[in-house]
């Protein structure tokens, strides 16, 4: 019988963190902050994976490793793009970046 003592609080924390991240993504306009909010959301999901791994087997731990790898790659590419945008526009405010407007 797996230990489920911390399952409820862990999932609750995960939900709070995810909501915080999502709210940040929706509300903030600074690209760096937005980026950090995405990281928060990813880590919230990681927390949920780890918590649930006790119930559903080892695959939860492995998925966390995957998410971290992808997040690292994403951070590398994303920060490079943000840097390029800053060099071009002298700003990382997303409201000014609307080149793809139809």
């Amino acid at each position: 019988m797996p230990d489920t003592t911390f399952l409820g609080p862990a999932l609750g924390l995960s939900a709070i963190l995810f909501s915080l991240g999502a709210a940040g993504v929706l509300l903030r306009r600074n690209a760096i902050v937005l980026f950090m909010c995405i990281e928060i959301m990813l880590n919230a999901v990681n927390l949920a994976f780890v918590a649930l791994a006790q119930l559903h087997g080892q695959s939860g731990y492995i998925l966390v490793l995957f998410v971290m790898t992808v997040a690292a790659a994403e951070a590398a590419v994303g920060l490079a793009i943000i840097l390029a945008i800053y060099r071009h526009k002298q700003s990382v405010d997303l409201q000014n970046i609307n080149l793809l407007q139809g």
Partner: protein, 657 residues
């Protein structure tokens, strides 16, 4: 060895000729001697094969038609149509006429068309025509016959418009094609009816089961036969669809002889004779066929009286003689109709080829002096007898034959048809009227032929002083076929010599197995004894009278040349303008159709509905749709995230529930 089964060779030989000549026309148009050898050679070979088959049939007449099945053509559920040829007494006679007269006309063409740059193309078309004509007469079912029926129409179109760089010729070709299409519609509808009634389209099956499937005099058989006859009026140039044939004279003269006199236009007569049992079961249709035939014979003959173009006279004469044939098959004298078809193909081919010789000579004479006079206008001819004696004597034979003077071919065949119409009068008095119309048409025929001969060959020459030196008979390659046709026109009556003069009615007895099924529904008792003598005497008297009147009235007056002739007035003008039928059709059909096409279909349907509503409408709708959806694409990442989130939640809700 059974030769009947190689009947496909008769069709394959001209087809090979078409392929070779077509290839030569494309890549070696200068190789005229090769074209001549192939073009005329395949026809002579086909004639030889046909004659061999005929001799075999003659030795052992088959009781039932021999069906030579080549392959399965349309295997569609219950509709099974084989590409098969039917060899019987009727089709072999037609094959002999087509290949025999066709060979002579091919030989004539070698001389007539020698100078033409389109020589190879001409022979390719001519060979192709013979292929389709043979498919038409040999086909063992309605659809196979229809291949030939359509094919000869196509070749007719191609050859009428052979000199297509003149708009008049191209228009004449189109007119012929369209008029024929109207008739072909009738043929198709008749086929649909037959399919519904019989479930098969083979001639043998339809003939055998007609008695049990259809009620004699019933609505279905009447509809079938009337629609078939509509097809015939198109192909065989009967009222109301005859106007294309005189215009078809725009083609080369040998084409007029082969297609528009001897063979293709007789296809309708052949069709009626082939389906004789259906027509015998529908007395109303037969009455219509005979009536249209008699009316056409008379109507066209009156137009022929006042034409000046030598080929136009012969064209209306052809329409008129075709009317005779329909009068014959309409009265139930199917064998007489076919007999007249055969003799007519001899003397009319001779007349056309003779007129071709005349036009050839006239054309060369005018060409030599760089004159631009009309080489086909009889008012520019006259006195050609001393320059072209051979042509004159041969055409005189043909004239006597068509006028019905014994013992020439036309006398026997025309007399039989008139006698049959008279005999049918005993059942239905309307036929007496048809007989009278036929007699008057015979008088007019003799008259206009005498006029043609007198204007062309007799009297003083009106061609011109310098041109006269260039007039002479055609070379032997052209005169040779004329001599053969002259002999046939003179003795062709022997094919079906009546008992009156000690003959055995050979053709009629030969065709008996094919015409037998009609016998049980409509039996024709031909007049005998004193009545027959009276009818024959009247016919001869009429012919002689017509010729005498024609020669006398034409030679008795001074004929001005086409250049300084006063315009016709009164009745002469009406006849010369062909009763204004072309103008009438133009006003009643052509112009309304053009108006409908231009105003309703083009401006209304095409520009309005298709271009406006459909094409541009679709563009407008997609532009509006795109324009409004474009507003979603703000370029603001935040908006996309909101939409993404809303979507994700929405999907989650659906999944979790």
């Amino acid at each position: 060895m059974n030769l009947t089964h190689v009947v496909w060779l008769v069709v394959a030989l001209p087809l090979a000729g078409f392929l070779v000549n077509g290839g030569l026309a494309l890549w070696r148009p200068r190789a005229k001697s090769a074209v001549s050898v192939v073009g005329a050679g395949v026809l002579l070979a086909a004639f030889a094969v046909a004659a061999a088959i005929f001799l075999e049939l003659l030795a052992q007449p088959p009781a039932a038609p021999v069906i030579v099945r080549l392959w399965s053509w349309l295997p569609v559920d219950r509709l099974q149509v084989d590409l098969a040829f039917q060899v019987d007494q009727l089709s072999i006679v037609m094959v002999l006429v087509v290949t025999g007269v066709g060979s002579l006309i091919h030989l004539f063409s070698v001389g007539y068309m020698r100078e033409d740059p389109g020589y190879a193309r001409y022979f390719a078309y001519l060979n192709l025509f013979v292929v389709f004509m043979l498919v038409l007469v040999l086909g063992s079912s309605f659809p196979v016959m229809f291949i030939g029926w359509e094919g000869v129409g196509l070749c007719s179109y191609l050859l009428i418009g052979f000199w297509f760089s003149d708009k008049v010729n191209a228009d004449a070709g189109k007119k012929a094609f369209i008029m024929n299409r109207i008739g072909d519609c009738g043929f198709l509808v008749a086929m649909f009816f037959l399919w519904r009634a019989f479930g098969t389209l083979d001639f043998t099956a339809v003939t055998a089961r007609a008695g049990e499937v259809l009620t004699p005099g019933g609505a279905i058989v009447t509809a079938i036969t009337l629609f078939l006859f509509l097809g015939c009026t198109g192909k065989s140039a009967q009222i109301p669809l005859y106007t294309w044939l005189p215009d078809a004279m725009a083609g080369p003269t040998p084409v007029s002889a082969l297609i528009h006199a001897a063979t293709m236009v007789t296809a309708g007569v052949y069709l009626v004779a082939r389906t004789n049992v259906l027509f015998a079961m529908a007395p109303v249709s037969s009455l219509v066929v005979a009536g249209i035939g008699a009316l056409t014979a008379l109507f066209a003959a009156t137009i022929g009286l006042r034409q000046y173009d030598i080929k136009k006279v012969l064209a209306y004469s052809t329409v008129s003689q075709l009317g005779y044939m329909f009068l014959g098959v309409g009265t139930g004298a199917y064998a007489s109709g076919i007999f007249h078809l055969a003799t007519h193909s001899f003397f009319k081919a001779l007349l056309f080829l003779g007129s071709g010789s005349v036009i050839h000579a006239m054309h060369q004479a005018y060409h030599a002096t760089h004159s631009h006079e009309d080489a086909q206008d009889m008012r520019n001819m006259g006195g050609l007898k001393q320059y072209m004696p051979v042509t004159f004597w041969l055409m005189l034979i043909a004239t006597l034959a068509i006028a019905g003077i014994p013992p020439f071919a036309g006398f026997f065949s025309k007399d039989e048809i008139l006698a049959a119409a008279f005999a049918r009068g005993a059942d239905s008095p309307l036929y007496y009227l048809y007989y009278a119309m036929g007699v008057v048409a015979a008088l007019l025929t003799a008259f206009y032929m005498a006029r043609l001969m007198a204007m062309t060959f007799l009297g003083p020459n009106r061609t011109g002083e310098q041109e006269r030196a260039h007039l002479h008979d055609a070379p032997w390659i052209m005169t040779g076929p004329l001599v053969v046709l002259g002999v046939l026109s003179a003795v062709g009556g022997a094919l079906n010599l009546p008992r009156l003069v000690g003959g055995h009615a050979a053709l009629e007895r030969w065709l008996e197995p094919v015409m037998e099924p009609a016998r049980q529904f409509s039996h024709l008792i031909m007049p005998e004894g004193s009545t027959e003598y009276l009818l024959v005497g009247a016919a001869v008297a009429i012919g002689v009278l017509g010729l005498w009147l024609g020669f006398r009235s034409t030679l008795g007056q001074r004929i001005p040349t086409a250049h300084d002739a006063p315009p016709d007035t009164g009745l002469a003008l009406v006849l010369n303008r062909k009763y204004y039928v072309d103008e009438l059709y133009d006003a009643l059909v052509v112009r309304p159709v053009e108006w409908l096409s231009r105003v309703v279909l083009w401006r209304g349907v095409d520009q309005g509905v298709v271009d406006g509503a459909a094409v541009n409408g679709a563009a407008v709708v997609s532009r509006l749709l795109g324009g409004s959806l474009r507003l979603l694409q703000t370029g603001q990442v935040g908006v996309y995230v909101v939409l993404f989130l809303v979507g994700a939640i929405w999907i989650l809700r659906a999944v979790i529930r």
